[in-house]
């Protein structure tokens, strides 16, 4: 499975390890729902750390789309909400 960390590139994670990410993803979703930036930040950092440690980088010249996309590390909760709304934030 291909995971993108925005601003950092793509990583490949073995499908068998995905279950380890599920609870972290749930925590992040809950944090975004709650609107609490501190909670969001710690959930995001935990998820990013897990993805970085589980994944191996995809080659620079590989043209594959990602199954999962993570916000950039210093993203504010409002930016992520805007990303999820699918409006405006992504240029072009």
């Amino acid at each position: 499975m291909i995971v993108r960390i925005m601003g950092e590139g793509q990583l490949e994670i073995d499908d068998s390890r995905l279950t380890e990410l599920n609870p972290l993803d749930d925590a992040l979703s809950a944090a975004v729902e709650s609107g609490d930036d501190a909670q969001f930040r710690s959930a995001l950092v935990a998820l990013l750390d897990a993805v970085r440690s589980l994944g191996s980088p995809v080659a620079d010249d590989a043209l594959v789309d990602s199954d999962l996309v993570l916000p950039f590390a210093e993203a504010h909760i409002d930016e992520v909400r805007e990303l999820l709304s699918g409006e405006g934030l992504i240029p072009g």
Binding site: R4, D25, D60, D61
Partner: protein, 271 residues
């Protein structure tokens, strides 16, 4: 998966929309390729902009550090002349500068991180654009419009996702440098206004003026003492160049009440 999957859907939907718009998907390939090259130029410019911003901060940090060192010296000099009030003033200003410097260090680290990330993003994008070009030529040479549609799929959405991501990263970097430029501009103004003394030494701050005045008063006292000595002994010693060596007569100044005098011009080059 929850939120991560939703984010990837958004990227993919964007790629699909771009592909749907074209009647012949092979045209989309050329159009996209041009967009990719434009973006590549933009990312490289972004890297250069961030580097410029970083260098400007480096210059300001060294200016402020120089100022801070100078205020430290002034404090020491003022204290040796018995002027604790001046020394206190100099140290207060110095601590203000130190917090500015700390702030700049934080900004500098952030810009450095941004620069590294963007440089890597440019490398990634370049490799992908090159791979896309190869793929595009292969597809155009070997497939009809209808066949191309299915072949293009992942390559196109892969590069489209990369472009969205890199495009956003560049935009954020530009926003960041713009706000830092504004703050750097404010510090330049502060330096120019003399609130912090300009390192070029063109404007003298009030502490320097006061120290110069004290030094020149010392010079006068010493000169008078020397002349009196000459008169009594009748010898014609050549006048000694004292050049602000105030320390030896510090006590004399501390004890005497002196009237304010204009700052001596001969001290200009030393500040």
């Amino acid at each position: 998966m929850g939120i991560l999957q939703r984010m990837s859907m958004i990227f993919r939907a964007k790629a699909d929309r771009a592909l749907d718009r074209a009647e012949d998907p092979r045209e989309t390939l050329d159009y996209s390729y041009n967009k990719q090259r434009e973006l590549l130029v933009k990312v490289r410019r972004g890297v250069a902009d961030v580097a410029t911003s970083r260098k400007r901060i480096e210059v300001q940090m060294s200016q402020l550090t120089g100022q801070s060192g100078k205020l430290q010296e002034q404090a020491q000099k003022a204290l040796s002349l018995g002027r604790e009030d001046l020394a206190r003033e100099a140290l207060t200003r110095r601590s203000g500068l130190e917090s500015q410097i700390t702030d700049l260090q934080t900004q500098h680290a952030a810009l450095q991180g941004e620069e590294e990330k963007l440089t890597l993003a440019a490398q990634r994008l370049q490799a992908k654009v090159e791979a896309f070009r190869t793929k595009k030529e292969t597809i155009k040479a070997n497939y009809t419009a209808a066949e191309a549609q299915t072949r293009i799929g992942e390559a196109f959405s892969g590069i489209s996702e990369e472009m969205s991501d890199v495009g956003l990263a560049v935009q954020r970097a530009e926003d960041k440098t713009a706000s830092m430029q504004a703050r750097a501009g404010a510090i330049d103004e502060l330096l120019a206004s003399g609130a912090l003394e300009d390192v070029t030494g063109t404007a003298k701050d009030d502490i320097t003026v006061e120290l110069d005045r004290l030094a020149s008063t010392n010079d006068v006292e010493l000169e008078l003492a020397r002349m009196k000595q000459e008169l009594t002994t009748g010898s014609a010693e050549p006048p000694r160049q004292i050049e602000g060596q105030a320390e030896p007569a510090a006590e004399a100044v501390a004890d005497s009440v002196v009237e304010p005098q204009p700052a001596p011009r001969q001290e200009e080059g030393r500040s």
